[in-house]
């Protein structure tokens, strides 16, 4: 992890309310899929806290990194108005990253909304390692779906809640529908699920994959204070056998996460955030 001020290369809209921000990466560290960074958006007292964003890509040769973000509140609004050449205040890379699939499991990547960034990064990374994932991308409506080269390289299934593009329904039901209609999932030794998106989506996915006994890796979100493990602010509730003896513990999204094995998450409480 490093604290530095890279320069914006590109900050463009890729779909309604979604922006891709590309910037220089003048640090020796190499961000991995699933990891994130924090941005100090402006030298102001509001928005005050740094904002976390997952990497959506990293180019080792050019030393450039990128994030995909949704314009939702004060920080992302300010960010969306920043221009190439301006400086960013970055701390990163932070957190753990997605593991490789075990055995010959085919990776299934499920992205909902702002969760698309890390999924695209992971898909690109798999491709580089000659692994061919299945990518499910869900959104409320067509306008929120970007049009990317990646979709030519990776088998991509798009779904929208209102049916304006691709499958009509959630990305999870799209996945289930795919499985029902494609018998070939019998042929692969199994699937390994990677997901980032709204908690209800991830919980549904978790429940479904648990039934199939597929390993599931979920990228969790929590409001962050320090983003380096110091404040205990960004926790999710996880199952544990270690003390405190309640059978649960709070794990820090910024340190033990953001990627958690699905079966360790105690959903009832983790829903709080979304």
């Amino acid at each position: 992890m490093d604290h530095f001020k890279p320069t914006i290369i590109r900050n463009t809209s890729i779909a309604q309310n979604y922006f891709e921000l590309e910037f220089t990466w003048p640090s020796h560290s190499v961000p991995l899929p699933g990891q994130f960074l924090t941005l100090r958006i402006a030298d102001q007292i509001s928005p005050l806290l740094r904002r976390p964003f997952a990497f959506s890509g990293f180019n080792k040769e050019d030393r450039t990194a990128s994030i995909i973000y949704e314009k939702r509140g004060p920080a992302t609004s300010i960010l969306s108005a920043q221009l190439p050449g301006e400086a960013l205040d970055v701390i990163g890379p932070l957190g753990n990253s997605f593991p490789a699939p075990i055995n010959d499991n085919r990776p299934v990547l499920v992205a909902g909304g702002v969760g698309m960034g890390p999924m695209f990064f992971l898909a690109e990374d798999f491709l580089k390692h000659n692994i061919h994932p299945l990518l499910f991308l869900g959104a409320r409506t067509k306008a929120f779906i970007p049009n990317l080269d990646l979709f030519q390289k990776v088998q991509t299934l798009i779904s929208t809640d209102d049916g304006t593009a691709g499958f009509s329904g959630t990305s999870v039901s799209c996945f289930q529908h795919y499985l029902e209609t494609h018998e070939n999932h019998q042929k692969v030794s199994g699937y390994e699920v990677y997901a980032c998106g709204p908690n209800p989506m991830m919980q549904a996915l978790d429940r479904f994959s648990r039934n199939q006994s597929w390993p599931t890796w979920l990228s969790m979100e929590q409001t962050m204070g320090c983003a380096v493990g110091a404040c205990m602010g960004c926790v999710v509730k996880v199952i544990t056998n270690t003390p405190p003896p309640q059978g649960f513990a709070y794990a820090r999204v910024c340190t033990e996460g953001p990627i958690f094995p699905g079966h360790t998450l105690i959903w009832e409480e983790n829903h709080g955030q979304q």
């Binding site: 604290h3 509001s46 204070g225 320090c226 602010g233 926790v235």
Partner: protein, 310 residues
Amino acid sequence: MGNSNFQPDLRVTIGSLTMKNPVGVASGTFGYGSEYEQLIPLENLGALYTKAVTLEPRPGNPIPRIVEAPGGMLNSIGLANLGSRGFVQKKYPYLKSLPTQVIVNLAGSQVEDYCETLEYLEEHAPLGGYEVNLSCPNVQCGGMALGTDPLQVEFVVKELRKRTAKPLIIKLSPNVTDITEIARASEAGGADAVSCINTLVGMLIDTKKKKPVLSTITGGLSGPGILPVGLAAVFRVKRAVKIPVVGLGGIMSGDHAIQYLLAGASAIQVGTANFVDPEATRTILKDIYHYAKEHSLESITDFHTLMYPV
């Protein structure tokens, strides 16, 4: 405009302990140091106040625990920590090697907790001193009630005093009618210093979800918005007690820190600002140093007499 050879001596003495400079990091905002070691050189800190340590481990409060507020943030961490034994095993080895003064922040629910925790740490984890958190607003039957009654405060401080010769810094809550009363009770109990302020009780509501944002309904307000409250507290407490006052609350910049020193603080702590800019302590120390030079202040106590006529 001091001459350029002039070197202010910014060391701070609290009880038997000397801090190399007045800029510390506040409890709960800097973990146990290791979390920030990749970002800043810890030896530049005057002191590191640990996250609260309680006798037994505590999981902390339910989710969500943090929300941004206008000009600040609310937290409801709830003393999440490994407990005194966990602290000794997992945190002490690293902390004892740090090139800065480590002050252990103590918390508990009743007097006995504080005493037992302190005894245990005295024996198994001797560090720089203790900051006694009698004021955390985020625990049920916890420190809050204890910290608002001068008689109880004096009693608990006396009990702790019996058990250690190390610096005892009593951390005061702003959520009281008269903070100077609690400060005087701390002094009477034998405290070496008081620190103020802890967070203000606050709440935010999510009007879309129709519920309080924090799981515990109310939480602790910190950040720049509370700066004036902390300054007023330090100013008043300084004039009520003879022991040193450690000032904190909303410090984001060197100018804020200098305001605390002028108000009477002997040292300061940086809390929420670490989250925003981990290098805040460095900038702040530099600014204090330059201010001292510019005004020919030889030591921290010279800051206390700079304001005229108050």
